[in-house]
Homo-oligomer: 249 residues x 2
Amino acid sequence: MAQAIPFRQASPLKASCHQCSLSNLCLPLAIEENDLDRLEDIVQQGRIFNRGEHIFDQSTPYRSCFAVKSGSIKTSIITENGEEQVTGFFMPGELVGLDSIGSEHYACTAKALERTSVCEFPMEKLEELTGKLPELQHHMYHLMSQEIQNSHQLAMLLSKNTAEERIAALLLSLSSRFQRRRMSPTNFSLPMARNDIANFLGLAVETVSRVFTRFQNQGIIKARGREVELLDIEALQMVSREFSRQCNS
Amino acid sequence: MAQAIPFRQASPLKASCHQCSLSNLCLPLAIEENDLDRLEDIVQQGRIFNRGEHIFDQSTPYRSCFAVKSGSIKTSIITENGEEQVTGFFMPGELVGLDSIGSEHYACTAKALERTSVCEFPMEKLEELTGKLPELQHHMYHLMSQEIQNSHQLAMLLSKNTAEERIAALLLSLSSRFQRRRMSPTNFSLPMARNDIANFLGLAVETVSRVFTRFQNQGIIKARGREVELLDIEALQMVSREFSRQCNS
DNA sequence: CGTCCGATTTGATCCATGTCAACTATGTAC
DNA sequence: GTACATAGTTGACATGGATCAAATCGGACG
C-alpha cells in the first residue's frame, strides 16, 4: 500500500529528456542540447506513485528533488502539535523539494494526489552538475527564488485577502498552470480535495464549499465535485483583485 | 535624504571577512580559510544606509544580494493595488535579496530600519564563485531553501494561529536571533515599528498594541515603546504553541 | 443493487479581530 | 518652548469566517 511499484520500468530506462514534452518547463529548458545528456545521466526517470503514496517524508534524510511528469503532488508540513499545513501543489513540469535543498532532511512531506509519475534528481549529483553548468546553476537559483516569491505571495494572500479572494486566486493560478501545459485554462478537474484547498488557503472546509457555491450562483464558475469550469475569468480576476500572479506552490 | 552617503569609506576598504565578527553567520562560514580571499575579492564591504533609505527597490534590475553587517532591514512587496506586505526582517549576519536570485528584477524592496551597514555581493560574480566552490554553492542552496522554509512557516503562522500566538512567535524569533549574536535574548529593542509588526503578521496595528499590553498585564513581557524585556520565555513558548522554529524572514 | 464511509454541502450561532474614533506619547523643526 | 506630525494606545462596535451540527452526495466494495 505504501510501496511504489516501479512498474514496467518505463520502456527504455532512459525515456530521455530530449523527447519529454515538458522539457520546456522543467530543468532541461536551461540546458544546451549537447549538455542534456549530462542531465540524463543523473536523472532517474519515470518512477510511479499511486494516489496517497509518499514521494518523500518530512525529517527523512534529503536525497533528491523531483520533477512531476504526470499527475500531481501536494506538499505539507506537520507541526510539533500534529497540525498539517499544506504548503503547495505541484503539477507536471514543476519541481518538488526545493525547500529542502542543501538541508540534511526533507522539510516537508510530498504525497501523490493521484497516480503520478516523477523524475528524480539525486541532489548530490545535481549539485555537482550545477557546478559545471552555469546556466543550470542560474536556473536552479531562479527556481528557488521563485519558490520564495510564491511563498511570500501566499503569505500575503493569507494575511490580507478574504476567502473569496483567496479561492479566486487559487483557481486562476491553476488555470494558468494548465494553460502552460496547453490544456484548457477554463475546464479542468481539481487534483486536490476541498480539504486540501481549505488547509492551503487557511480556511475552513465549510467556507471553501460556501464560496464555491457562491461563485456558482453568480455564474462565475461551474463546479461539480472536482470538475470545474471557469465561466468568467475576468470576474475572477476582479474578485482576486491582486490579479493573482501565482498564489501557488 | 534618499542618498546613501558612503561616509568615510570604512577604514581600509577591505575590512576583510577574515576579521568580521559575523563570519560564522554569514557566507564565510561555508568557505575554507584559504578560499576566503576569493569572496573578499568580489564583496563590497561597509556600505552605509540611514534609516528609511532603500538598499534596493522592487522591479529594479537585479544586481546583488546583501549581508547585514549592523543595523536591520525590512523587506516588503507592493501589490498592483498599492498595498504593502512586509515579507521579512533581517538582522546582522543575515542575507537579503535571496528571493530574487536568478531573476531579472528585485522581487521586493529593502529598507533600512535604522542606520545600517551592509556588504554587497554582486550576483554575477557570486554565481561565478559558487560554480567554483562547491561548499559555497551548497551553502547558497541551503540559505535559499531555509528562506523558503521560513516563508512557509510564516504562511502557517498566518493561516492557523491567533494574534497572540503570532506575536509570541515573532518575539521568540527575535530573541533567538539576538542570542545568536551573543546579545541578550531577553532584553532588546525592536528594530521595527508596531505598524511593521502588524503588517508582517497580518494583523491590525491596534491588535498588536492590545496583545502587547495583554502580555504585559500577564507579566510575560515588559514593553515600553520599542524596548522589550521578555520576563517569561516559557510562557511565550506556551502561547506560541508551535514552539516557533522561526517565524521569521 | 444496496451498504458504508468519507467528502461535500448547508444552516445556525459565536467570537476574534478588523474598523472607526478619540486620546496620548514621542519626537522633530523652528 | 511651542507646534505639528508620527507612532502608539484604548474603547466601542461590526462582521467574516470558524465552529458545531446535520443532511446529502458519491464512490468502493461485496
